[in-house]
């Protein structure tokens, strides 16, 4: 059952727990995640602990936020290669404006998010107006945004943010929840609600299924497409804030290659790159699989080269399991 078959699963919604509903359509990847956790619990005695769990959550926040935006893009049948570069540009806007132009930090915070959204807008317009294939449109923005990120400070990093800002990522309130993790959870939940219970969210699935059918059914395909790319850009901007807060610095090289991780997470979570299928529940599981994998392999002490081999294989296996389960 694909996560787009909202009604089929909804048929028994009232009887199902919120957890079951959250994970609709992502049972396949979930099985993979559980297997991974079992393997690491056996091979590493520190893996299975509350603290390590919190570490993993911490570590996936940035990727997770990017993957939320990517989920929308992939559902409408697009792809966004620019998220890593947009993240870098937003990071730099955040640090560079206060440093070089004395812009108040609060303002630059907003501007960083706006920069992300603006890049997303360019993506959206290139896709809908210039009719570029999403791969090319976002490849363009990927290159341009990275160039701009470097241009801000001439490639240098910016160091030192206000204390309250870095505390967002480092202090765990109530003993477990840092502000950035809380933000991720809120965003994921909002995304889940949106895609599942809002008409507009459901429209995205229709666009991914067949944009012409969607258009003839009265959905404003072009406008929604633009918004989806803007959302992805804004989320990349938010991810930039998280990363900057986490590292207490901004680098123009931030986020290099994150786009592939984000896409992988969404697809591991059960989305289809041809559009129309996917969901936040699956994406979060996909992100967790990637996060747990890195964390577990580090805990076991596997060399990064072997990690590359293992990660490749796990991605293939996870998606294959999901494919077969669906049939």
């Amino acid at each position: 059952m694909s996560s787009s078959t909202f009604v089929a699963s909804a048929g028994s919604d009232s009887r199902r727990s919120i957890w079951a509903r959250l994970l609709t359509g992502s049972q396949g990847p979930l099985i993979g995640l559980i297997i991974l956790c079992i393997v690491f619990s056996v091979t590493s005695d520190v893996f299975l602990s509350a603290r390590n769990f919190l570490n993993v959550i911490d570590q996936i926040t940035v990727l997770g936020i990017l993957a939320l935006g990517m989920t929308g893009v992939i559902i409408i049948g697009g792809i966004d290669l620019s998220v890593g570069s947009i993240l870098a540009l937003s990071c730099m806007v955040l640090g560079w404006l206060p440093q070089d132009y004395g812009v108040p930090f609060g303002v630059s915070l907003i501007l960083a998010i706006i920069a992300g959204g603006a890049c997303g807008l360019v993506n959206g317009l290139l896709v809908t107006r210039a009719k570029l294939p999403p791969f090319i449109a976002t490849l363009t923005v990927m290159s341009v945004a990275r160039g701009l990120a470097n241009l801000t400070t001439g490639g240098e990093q910016v160091v030192g943010y206000p204390d309250w800002f870095t505390r967002l990522a480092t202090v765990r309130y109530l003993g477990f929840l840092s502000a950035t993790v809380a933000m991720f959870i809120v965003l994921a939940f909002a995304g889940w609600i949106f895609l599942r219970y809002r008409g507009t969210g459901r429209s995205l699935y229709a666009i991914g299924g067949n944009p012409e059918v969607a258009r003839l059914a009265g959905i404003k395909v072009l406008r929604l497409t633009v918004w989806v790319y803007v959302a992805s850009g804004v989320l990349a901007g938010l991810a930039a804030l998280v990363l900057s807060s986490r590292l207490d610095s901004s680098q123009p090289s931030a986020g290099l290659g994150y786009e592939l991780d984000a896409i992988a997470a969404v697809v591991i979570g059960g989305a289809s790159l041809s559009g129309g299928i996917g969901g936040i529940g699956g994406t979060v599981v996909g992100v967790l699989i990637i996060g747990v994998l890195h964390n577990g392999l580090n805990l076991v002490g596997v060399s990064p080269f072997i990690q590359q081999v293992i990660i490749g294989c796990v991605i293939a296996v996870a998606v294959t399991i999901d494919k077969f389960r669906r049939q």
Partner: protein, 289 residues
């Protein structure tokens, strides 16, 4: 013409995303501005093949000398040979091709520097502790040299026990954070972190901060990045080895001009790195050595 009045020097950088290379680039450019020299900068994004192309382009462009910061794990000799075939002198910086050494080679003596750092760590840790190392990209020259020097120092400091050593792939701060966090998960008793670059060390420092450990952790880095120096000043890092990027940049340009003027220079011009601690960091932040 204008070009005759203004000699042109090519600067082929391995990867401008790395602060260390970027510092050298800026220093070369600053020095060039004072000397009335035009510098053409190309960035290989860490790819040797791209760099070969770029040096070819610099040769076509007819630069008087090339400052070559090799990309890739270790230096490739092909660009040097190509330039020399076109009678353009080459100044190699940071890494030198073993099979085709440049006309002069400017670098920090990394082995010695890492040794110095190791000795310092041993001293301030009181000769004992639990050590974790976050390596750079395996197989690269800086990683190999820093490993060599540091291990030599540790050999004479038996009280420090190394419990973890994990490689990163991009020398990045985020990687340092994640790897250190996972190391602390497995070995909460770690008292010393050595990040093979400042970015890695800064990541490790963040991880110790988040981990809320019941004991202090000593974090040291390498390179003397701006961020690293500031961290040393604030006490986040206990020490770093500051490479003299400004001096190296100036020296590189001067050497290039000298070579272009037909002078001969020593084959190697090794620089020392400065052990930087809270006591001596402040002037370096204002003016990088």
């Amino acid at each position: 013409s204008a070009r005759a009045a203004e000699p042109t020097v090519g600067l082929a950088v391995a990867n401008l995303q790395a602060d260390f290379f970027n510092q050298i680039k800026q220093s070369v450019e600053a020095e060039a501005a004072t000397k009335g020299v035009k510098v053409i900068v190309v960035d290989a994004h860490g790819d040797s093949a791209t760099q070969v192309n770029q040096i070819q382009d610099l040769i076509t462009r007819g630069v008087k000398a090339i400052i070559y910061i090799p990309a890739g794990a270790t230096a490739a000799g092909v660009p040097v040979r190509a330039a020399q075939a076109a009678h353009i002198p080459v100044v190699a910086v940071d890494r030198n091709a073993p099979d085709a050494p440049a006309d002069t080679f400017i670098a920090t003596d990394s082995v010695a520097a890492a040794h110095t750092l190791g000795d310092y760590v041993c001293k301030i840790a009181g000769g004992k502790g639990t050590l974790a190392i976050i390596q750079g990209q395996l197989g690269t020259t800086p990683e190999v040299d820093r490993n060599k020097g540091f291990e030599a120092a540790m050999a004479s400091c038996p009280g420090i026990k190394q419990v973890a050593k994990q490689a990163s792939q991009e020398w990045s701060q985020n990687e340092g954070f994640t790897i250190a966090q996972d190391m602390l998960q497995r070995h909460p008793d770690i008292t010393i972190f050595f990040g093979r670059a400042d970015a890695l060390a800064l990541g490790a420092a963040q991880a110790t901060k988040v981990a809320n450990l019941d004991h202090p952790v000593l974090v040291v880095g390498f390179d003397g990045d701006k961020a690293g120096l500031k961290a040393v000043q604030s006490g986040t890092l206990a020490a770093t080895m500051t490479q003299k990027t400004q001096a190296m940049g100036r020296l590189a340009l001067d050497s290039a001009l000298d070579l272009a003027a037909g002078k001969t220079l020593p084959k190697e011009q090794l620089q020392t790195a400065v052990l930087t601690t809270k006591d001596n960091v402040t002037p370096y932040i204002a003016q990088h050595p």
